[in-house]
């Protein structure tokens, strides 16, 4: 055997980091292209450039959180070779459940806003309850998948219907109104990053007249910060912890993982439970955003979430994916929707555009990978 591998060995770690970066670069470039093209399109159509304003960019971040939180959980599942179709329904279920908790625990005489000590602990219980319920439902998914040895697609399809029904049952087929509380504050864009006051008209050589009307505070919600923190935690889990490497191994080849002593069932069960907790958190934020518990919320959201993961480089065959890629995927879709609003396109065009972008993004990504092989 020849052992002339010396110099190449030294290159290897750098290659690995490089490859990871390249994998993120694809979705990133797509996002930048959309932002760029969107701004140009807006200017061409009306001369204004509000889509690019820092205020709007911050708004988009805040609008992304539900899908982004779900995508963090879904990334774990998809890397492990599974899928979860119940994400949207679990968001609705936990949103309704947390609203129900707030309503039930609030004193009867409270009209619009919680006050005093209750203002602190009641929403906290609702938050914990929502997350715990999501975790429980995800755990049930994982339990059934590993015990009944059925395809995740089937089990979570069942859970999708079951959880939606349960949400409607808890809410008695209506919305649950709850007093205003800090969960709404948590999801509202009230973390002001900076204020700016630019109102000017530029006359640029190629573009012509550009109206800049960037006035007011650029603010994000606290939930954005929490989402980023959770994403970092999930990335560390996946990349730097034993459990994470086991998740990759299971998705890559379950038989190998089992043979290497990985506790496959236990790990999968954990993955679905952790993802369920993320869906629960997304549900609680959804409740905060709407300030009512709506059992028909997040209809079809699971597909947005799965699309975010896939746009971000995740493979439905398992073994491949990245949390930050998924976040970029979620952001990309939020940008598309926001952009359509700025361009004044009707809702149906939005949906068609999102569909096209999902297919284009994934195709480009697969082409890129094929070339590398």
């Amino acid at each position: 055997m020849t052992r002339d591998t010396g110099p190449e060995l030294l290159e290897a770690p750098r290659q690995a980091a490089y490859r990871r970066l390249i994998n993120l670069l694809g979705p990133m470039i797509g996002l930048i292209l959309i932002i760029f093209a969107g701004g140009v399109a807006e200017q061409r159509m009306g001369g204004s450039l509000n889509y690019w304003s820092p205020q709007n960019q911050c708004l988009i971040l805040t609008q992304t959180i539900t899908v982004a939180m779900g995508a963090i959980g879904m990334t774990l599942i998809i890397i492990s070779g599974g899928i979860d179709l119940s994400a949207g329904s679990l968001i609705a279920l936990t949103a309704v459940a947390s609203a129900w908790i707030v309503r039930e625990l609030s004193p009867a005489d409270v009209a619009a806003t919680l006050g005093g000590f209750e203002a602190v602990w009641v929403p906290a219980v609702a938050l914990a309850g929502g997350v715990a319920l999501g975790c429980l439902a995800g755990g049930v998914n994982g339990f059934l998948i590993t015990r009944l040895k059925l395809a995740p697609f089937i089990i979570t399809l069942g859970m999708m219907s079951f959880a939606r029904g349960a949400a409607k049952g808890i809410a008695n087929m209506q919305r649950i109104d709850a007093p205003l509380n800090w969960i709404s504050e948590f999801t509202a864009a009230n973390l002001v990053l900076f204020r700016m006051n630019v109102r000017r008209v530029y006359d640029l050589p190629v573009l012509g007249e550009v109206r800049i009307d960037w006035v007011g505070p650029a603010a994000i919600s606290a939930a954005v910060v929490v989402t980023v923190a959770l994403a970092i935690a999930a990335a560390v889990l996946l990349g730097r912890m034993r459990l994470g490497r086991h998740i990759f191994a299971i998705g890559s080849n379950e038989a190998t993982a089992r043979l290497c002593g990985v506790r496959v069932e236990w790990t999968k069960w954990l993955v679905y439970a952790m993802a369920g907790a993320m869906f629960g958190l997304a549900g609680v934020t959804d409740f905060g955003r709407l300030s009512v518990g709506d059992p028909t919320t997040a209809m079809g959201k699971e597909l947005d979430i799965i699309a975010a993961v896939v746009i971000g480089g995740g493979s439905l065959n398992g073994g491949v994916g990245s949390v930050f890629g998924s976040l970029i995927g979620a952001l990309l879709m939020a940008h598309l929707r926001n952009l359509c609003v700025h361009l004044g396109l009707p809702n149906y065009v939005q949906e068609m555009v999102v569909g096209v972008v999902i297919i284009v993004a994934v195709t480009v990504d697969r082409l890129r990978q094929r070339r590398r092989d």
Binding site: G239, N253, A255, V262, R263
Partner: protein, 546 residues
């Protein structure tokens, strides 16, 4: 057949003269192909005569597959040209190649199991009339092809998934015939065939040859090459190092060309001492097989298990390792009963298992070398819950060096390695997890001769480090050459273990095919040569006899 083209390096003038006299079926001239800095093919010449079976042999990674990919248009060569039946040939893709008359038959069958034989044979080239499939014309064309292969007994209307693997392979060959192929490439066609099916395939190959079709035959088994091929070309490190008549070249000569060195000490024995009992099976019974297996394995012992595929050897070690259910009986490791323990606990008490199926079980294909190597023991690289990729990589690098694994480095995806090197990574994983009892299921399957010799030497060294080795193999020469003792399995029943000196290939075959162990053992004691069982049991998969 009197064309003197034995020297592929002959000048182009004489080559052209020869091709005018009786045009070669195929000439590949000066084919070169590089992947990055790896030179996969270096100015390879290959001449195939019309109506000959030309074997292409070489170690894994020698460039056989790359050369055939160039031939089939799946890869474009960096340099060189090809001439097919006197006309320049440069396929842009597999379809192009097929249209020009070059058909590939791959290791993995590429048939649609739910379609019928005739639909498979003519898939994509169905005779049609006004857009409708012309059934009767389809049937007659398929029957014609099957008859040409002397297998009119296969019903054109049968569902392909219902046929045996051997018959499916014939359907593949018929597909090549129906496409009017002039050159048929077979890449390890016998790897999934029983002995009987292999013989049928050889007849079919000869029938192909007699009808004027040229066959390029790739195989690891030199016995097969001897049985089926007229001439051979050896590839080594991407170069064609020799072409000759099979009949006039001894097997040792072919091996010498393949590895570029003598393999006299192929089965080199490292002296090792046999110590106390470490694995003890008493009447171990699985769901179907094994049935009441008794076995004692000692430290420093290399214990071989021979037998036909389907005899329950794999199920035996899987039951020991906790991958398959144990219905009754007991497994003891160093005196502790581990019956029914799952793999994580078996790993913890020092038992490691190397799967026979590298592709779907042994290795995780889209992970890297370091991930595959360290997967079963990540704990040493974890501090405060965080994994140090750098330290894992350093450890992997050490094993890469110790086992001489040819790779670009720890971060190379495992699929980039040749079969032999992949197997070394799988072995390195067992060593890395510090297993004391190694359950090796066909560790040398599908790997090249050089890597095999490396693995034999490694197994000897491990025994010298007083590790206990249970080694399943279908290749008798290696069992007889390396093991201390042997047991033979037949239909779920494990024979008594005896020192290897008391076994002969004939005696093993006798027990493996259902004979009594007693009379055979007396005829033992001969040199271990030839006679691979090759594990081809036509009865594989049947219920064991009660």
């Amino acid at each position: 057949m009197s064309v003197p083209t034995d020297s592929p390096t002959a000048g182009s003038e004489s080559g052209r003269a020869a091709s005018q006299a009786a045009p070669l079926a195929l000439r590949m001239i000066g084919i070169s192909k590089a992947f990055g800095s790896t030179r996969a093919l270096v100015e390879v010449d290959l001449d195939v005569r019309p109506g000959e079976v030309h074997a292409l042999v070489g170690e894994n990674g020698a460039g056989k597959s790359t050369l055939m990919k160039v031939l089939s248009g799946a890869l474009q060569p960096d340099a060189g040209r090809m001439i097919l039946e006197g006309r320049p040939y440069g396929p842009r893709g597999p379809l192009d190649a097929r249209a020009a008359g070059v058909a590939m038959i791959y290791q993995e069958l590429s048939l649609a199991p739910d379609l019928s034989v005739e639909e498979n044979v003519l898939l994509g080239v169905e005779p049609t009339a006004f857009g409708f499939v012309h059934r009767s014309r389809m049937r007659s064309r398929v029957e014609e092809a099957l008859h040409l292969l002397h297998h009119g007994d296969i019903r054109p209307g049968a569902r392909v998934g219902d046929l045996s693997i051997g018959a499916q392979q014939l359907v593949e060959v018929a597909r090549a015939l129906a496409a009017k192929a002039r050159v048929v490439v077979m890449d390890e066609p016998t790897s999934s065939l029983s002995q009987a099916d292999t013989e049928v395939l050889f007849e079919v190959i000869h029938a192909l040859r007699d009808s004027g079709v040229s066959v390029i035959y790739i195989s690891h088994f030199l016995e097969e090459v001897r049985a089926v091929a007229d001439r051979f070309t050896v590839l080594r490190d991407g170069r064609a190092v020799g072409t000759s008549e099979v009949a006039s070249t001894p097997t040792a000569g072919i091996i010498r060309l393949m590895v570029g060195r003598e393999l006299a000490d192929m089965y080199h024995r490292t002296p090792h001492e046999i110590g106390e009992v470490v694995l003890d099976l008493s009447s171990l019974t699985g769901r179907k097989v094994p049935q009441g297996a008794d076995l004692v394995l000692r430290r420093g012992e290399i214990l071989g298990i021979a037998g036909l595929i389907g005899s329950g050897r794999t199920e035996l070690v899987r039951a020991v390792f906790g991958l398959d259910e144990v219905v009754s009986g007991e497994v003891r490791v160093e005196g502790v009963s581990t019956t029914g323990w799952k793999p994580p606990r078996m790993l913890a008490c020092g038992v490691g298992y190397l799967s026979e199926d590298r592709k779907t079980e042994g290795l995780a294909e889209n992970l890297t070398v370091v991930d595959n190597l360290t997967l079963s023991r990540l704990r040493p690289y974890v501090s405060f819950g965080l994994l140090s990729r750098r330290r894992a990589r350093d450890a992997a690098r050490e094993w890469i060096g110790r086992l001489g694994i040819r790779t670009q480095g720890p971060d190379q995806p495992i699929t980039g390695l040749s079969g032999g090197n992949q197997q070394k990574v799988a072995l390195a994983r067992l060593l890395h997890q510090e297993a004391d009892v190694l359950l090796l299921d066909e560790p040398t399957r599908g790997i090249d001769v050089g890597s095999k010799a490396d693995i034999y030497a490694l197994i000897g060294e491990l025994a010298a480090q007083s590790k206990a080795i249970l080694w399943i193999s279908s290749y008798l020469p290696e069992l007889l050459g390396v093991c201390d003792s042997l047991a033979v399995m037949h239909r779920g029943l494990l024979s008594e273990k005896r020192p290897v000196s008391e076994w002969s290939p004939e005696a093993i075959m006798h027990v493996a095919t259902g004979g009594d162990a007693e009379p055979a053992a007396e005829a033992a004691g001969h040199a271990p040569q030839g006679n691979a069982i090759d594990g081809r049991d036509p009865c594989a998969g049947e219920e064991p006899r009660p």
